[in-house]
Chain length 244, copies 6
């Protein structure tokens, strides 16, 4: 594929997020249900509460938070095969759902959650780059709603959520560090980094990959600066959404 | 589960459809993309055009129309396992996607379509009964949009679509024949029938199942009367949506 | 495939069944073992009793009746792949075995059966059209034998079978409604309908499919008349077989 | 399971086969179709001709002979799970079908067969010990019929079959060497050996297994004497069947 | 592949084993860990003790001994696909691991082992013929070490091992019976036999296969003479290794 | 699991690697075969050359470099299930093999490699932390040997390798940044980071994960300092190994 992007992005500053929309109660049945949009990327994140835990947690007194990720076959430019029909999830899918699960568990006090599971299903309705970071950011809001439901039901007396968490992608395209890559930028970039941070300012996950050319320490620092800025704005968007 | 429904439905006549909404161009990438809603049931139907056909059609000069069906894990009251994670599609899923495919092929002139495939992906975002009939009704509109795209692209000179097709469920609940069952009615019904018809008034598919008590010829006729009425209204809704 | 069938069938009236043979105790180990033949179609139906139920029935006091369907690789004109070797059952196989299971459960009082399972294995030894309807008709006899065995063993004091059940296919070939389609007729037909009825005269399952041309209400009524006649004869054949 | 068998077998000499029945043209569609019975063991062996070869033979000018083995779920005393439903063939099934395939290939001149495949499907209808040896013995007759069909069709001018092949099980039960073990003997035996031989008198396959107690060279020789006698009788039965 | 081997082997007598090396404690974590080498064939055999048994042994008071076999993708001349990536074990792999398991169980008193499992993992690091016989011979030593560990831990008071077991391949190449075939000989051989024997001199498993030409009773006897000689030497090598 | 590690590591400085051993030509058949040891972690890395490319590279004139990762069942403290027997690779396995593949491709000029594939199989013989970083470091040496073989065979005139690549893990344990975590440290750490760098000093991959407590920018910088030091030493070890 020939992707040409000789100039910095047009119509959006290098350090600007795409418009972020967080719609709570998007579907009816789940304890938490959030549609999150990062520009043209739309991910439905539902949080489901089940009063049981996987085998490795049984009898521990602790709960579990886990995630699954999927992409509708025509969320992308060209139709991709349905994983259910192929009979297996791709390595990419598994990598992403493991990342979402770890990121969310990091802000949960599992003992305080009690022996129950919160399952976060992140299904991409439309993809335009950054689906995994949108998924983490939206899943946090859905998980928060599920916890509120548990408290309202009298099943929990206080929240096991210790901190907020959000994620963004950053990358270097034609030598220019950019925040929140959309699909055409992602395809053209030299370095791609996904950053997950808490509201307290710490890093939870950091995954940087050089596509072709290795990146320097200095470039990485520029990218982390951008990511910190973007995540600050996402955390604010989460707070606003949860106040409604 | 104890479902009590001693009286006919409240707030909707026995022969009334739930509110039907058809939203075209719901997502960006597919050649046809339709969100169809039958009350609380919401199904995203995308139509994807590929310039190739499955092995049994290669070299035949004919095209193919096929469908896949999926349900997001938390589209339902309780979370169901993700089929991609389990590594296989259930018998129910396969039954439904075969039904959708046959229903749509019935209104296509495959020779006129030429050696290309239209794949209809029907993904249930929220379920409240009647997902398969909503999927067929919405898939027709998505397929129509994909054909218009093919014509606009100059790949087809005229439409290979011979007729319109829509589907509805009917059933007997506590002795009362009802049109367009929602989930609580579906769970309580004695007989459940899915009917697929064309605009020309013929039956394409008919699937009736007695849940517990067998049904009589007379009951069946009452159900078919209801179905014909409902499908007439759905065909009108499809026409209105396509005019926009 | 070019199938030409310009005239009504030769050597058999349009409303005549093929010769039906029901051989009980066909194999030695099963609690019920029936070879049923509809002309050239031969299906071995065994009923196996197990003193346990699937998870969704445990502790309910109710039993379960289920079915599996298979086709030997060379039951057909050309060899089909062995499903065990491919590692999955086709959608068609799953659709058929679900139909058989529902049809048989409809005539069972599951509470009266007690917490045990009757598994009906329907394996096609030779196929010439109508394998699913032969399977249902034969499985009823095998299930009846398994129940007699349970009574003879003192495990049941009376039969949980509420009614008899049988099934037949009907279809329209070149405009002529025909009873009990054989393979060449099935391949050439415009409409194909499988009908499952009880001895009490009710419908249990009805599955009609238009192959190409949609069918009218009038045609459907003609087909149901044929089906009622044929099923009456099949129920008589079952009774005779069980008297031996 | 407690199997007691303190005395030599009753009603059959230690060196006697069970009654052997070979029924050709048992089903209608296959190029060769044989029901073989060794007492209560009944295996349907079909031979299917396909005008293509697996990848490793393409362009070699040579044909291929292969086998698949299956057991109907209730061929046995207690129902075993259907391999197609489980989604995989057991190690035992694969071991047996590889054995059948090797045994049959040993008597074929694959170059003379030409680039086509003969698939031997051996499906156990009823099991009472010795299913794999019955399968090999029956598959030979089915393969012979398929070759006669190829000659009759003018696709082959002479037979690629170089020799006949048959197989039998032998074993030591309570210290007594026995020919052609039935199920209760097989369960009680110390040593179990499956022997495959050609009409020319050579060994094609030999598989001996000690169940508990190792066996001596002398015991093995006694078993091979029995096997040679039994296989001689099976080869005669094959010849008689093929003369009809 | 053209393998020419017109003369008896060079540099090794027809009745000579390749150099045998048995290295205990090859890896750190397993209760028994043995690298066994038969010339260029290198197999890592680990024995793992688990304090549980498979379902068919639960509550029986008896233990279980089982084996799994694998081949690293590039253990062979050309890379073979990784079975974990393909999602299934080949028939050959299953056949071999079942053989190893049966061979080892034959020398174990399972009641004396108690309700625990010894799993023998035999992974081929480098293949040059005879991998299954090396695996059995090495697995015995690993199992012995695992039993010694159980005794040292106070979990067993005496050994449940009743006898030693070892295995070797023999074959006829160009009419010459040879002991311990290496890969080029194995590829060229007419007959290939794997023999498993105990120290007490009995046969546990015997698997002979004619590759092309059937073998005579006399040839089989010559091969068994060779195998007995070779296994005697392997049993001595096992004893020496265990004395260290 | 309770892992207590209140003090900095004993017997090794916080910024010291474990002893590194690189053994080339470890097995016989592969074009490159390297056993790499980081202390108790032992990984066999083989490089296999195949004169074909995967579908997405066919006709492109470019080659491909890919990797697969596996762990012998008893490489670890307790036996883990064999992935080939389970029928699927875990998410962890897929994540690791994708990481190895990307890391190696980063130092290859794929056009210069020509239309052929180098497959890197990294199989863990013994695990004690850091298996993925050892795998990358060893796979580079194996790939280098495979390229030398291609040049020696006259298939390449110059090397398509643009730079060397190596990897190391770093982490924070009880507040102390440590280089090259062994298993007990890895289990106890707050933050775990895998770093992949080229000899030219650039980053290729960076994967940091907070286990429990998020990490700060300052901590990350301390970890990267350690990683740069360690990778420098590994690159030197690779050079020494390749000089032999």
């Amino acid at each position: 594929m020939t992707v040409e992007l000789k100039k910095p992005r047009i119509g959006r500053a290098a350090d600007a997020l795409r418009p972020v929309t967080i719609t709570r109660r998007y579907t009816r049945h789940a304890e938490g249900s959030v549609l999150i949009e990062f520009g043209g990327t739309k991910v439905l994140c539902t949080a489901s509460v089940e009063e049981k835990v996987p085998p490795h947690k049984r009898g521990s007194g602790e709960g579990w938070v886990t995630a699954e990720y999927g992409m509708l076959p025509r969320a992308t430019h060209t139709r991709s095969d349905r994983e259910a029909a192929k009979g297996k999830q791709s390595g990419r899918t598994q990598e992403i759902q493991r990342l979402i699960g770890r990121s969310l568990r990091c802000v949960f006090d599992l003992a305080k959650l009690g022996e129950r599971t919160i399952s976060l299903d992140c299904d991409v309705i439309q993809a335009d780059g950054g689906t995994r970071t949108a998924a983490i950011t939206g899943a946090y809001v859905a998980a928060h709603d599920a916890v509120s439901w548990l408290i309202a039901q009298g099943k929990l007396s206080s929240s096991p959520i210790k901190d907020a968490v959000a994620a963004i992608s950053v990358g270097i395209v034609d030598g220019v560090p950019l925040l929140d890559l959309e699909y055409t930028e992602d395809s053209a970039c030299d370095t791609d980094m996904n950053v997950v941070m808490t509201a307290a300012g710490g890093f939870v996950e950091l995954q940087g990959t050089a596509e072709g050319v290795a990146f320097t320490r200095k470039e990485m620092n520029a990218l982390l600066d951008l990511a910190e800025k973007g995540i600050g704005e996402l955390l604010a968007a989460q707070r606003r959404a949860l106040e409604i």
